[in-house]
């Protein structure tokens, strides 16, 4: 009975880690739970405290956390039902959105801004964590048409499942609608809806 039960909850979606931890502590005196995100860490810590356990957290080099739960006394029964919180801190509730509002990045010098936006898009295309949606409006739409110097980056993002919404009014204004080479023509309804539902929104 004194053996430590190890629960490896890395890679599991909320509330799985805390559910597994709860099952384990109900039948073992000592449980070591390994999690890889802050939400799971907070939930398991909260569970341990609530069940009257001794809680010790150790941060590992690879970014994971080891949470040691030890039952104090004999009884580990929650008086009320434990409700894990899956929408805490780092958890996202909506899509990750990047808004490209101009064909440059930052204000002050346009030549430099054009250098920066190209570097930005090239870097986004190479990132492991890609946005779900990218929105282009105003002069930002110029980056999505034939002759754009970032087309290969945008096409790569598109191929990897990133949705590119390009403002139709803007393409029309610059008279480049027939030159669209990446993304799909979109409208203010989709743009507003996407922005409103975003879990995270970046405007470089």
């Amino acid at each position: 009975m004194s053996k430590t039960k190890i629960v490896d909850a890395r890679g599991l979606a909320c509330p799985q880690p805390v559910v597994l931890a709860k099952q384990a502590i109900e039948s073992h005196e000592h449980v070591k739970v390994i999690v890889d995100n802050d939400t799971a860490l907070e939930n398991v810590k909260r569970l341990g405290t609530k069940l009257g356990c001794d809680v010790k957290v150790e941060k590992k080099k690879d970014g994971a956390y080891e949470i040691n739960l030890t039952r104090k006394g004999g009884v580990a029964g929650a008086k009320e039902e434990f409700v894990p919180s899956c929408s805490a801190t780092s958890a996202q509730s909506g899509p990750f959105v990047i808004v490209i509002a101009e064909d440059k990045m930052g204000r002050g010098n346009d030549e430099l801004g054009y250098v920066l936006i190209r570097a930005f898009l090239h870097t986004v295309a190479g990132q492991a964590e890609k946005p779900n949606v990218m929105i282009f409006y105003n002069t930002g739409v110029k980056l999505t048409v034939q002759g754009s110097e970032v087309l290969d980056d945008l096409k790569q993002l598109e191929n990897e499942g990133v949705q590119l919404l390009v403002c139709g009014t803007c393409l029309n204004y610059f008279e480049i609608k027939d030159k669209l080479a990446a993304g799909t023509v979109s409208n203010m309804y989709d743009i507003v809806e996407t922005m409103s539902s975003a879990g995270r929104l970046i405007v470089p």
Binding site: E111, L112, V115, R118, A119, H122, T123, E149, D152
Partner: protein, 77 residues
Amino acid sequence: MSGQPQYFVMLFKAVSYVLKAEKILKKEGLPHKLIPVPKNISSDCGICLRFEPSIQNKIEAALLNKVEIEEIRELAD
């Protein structure tokens, strides 16, 4: 593609050199791409020009006596 890198990057002393080189290469119609300096080369927020190894000579000739090139390196994938 055994051994041969897909791209080279050309590094310069200053951003203004990169822009000058870019203008020349555009005028000459030599394909290239402006990208951030890869992290394994420098952690500075720098930019450089990426190009295919096959046109290295043409690029160097176009920039000769016009823009000082600091270094040309292979771009590790």
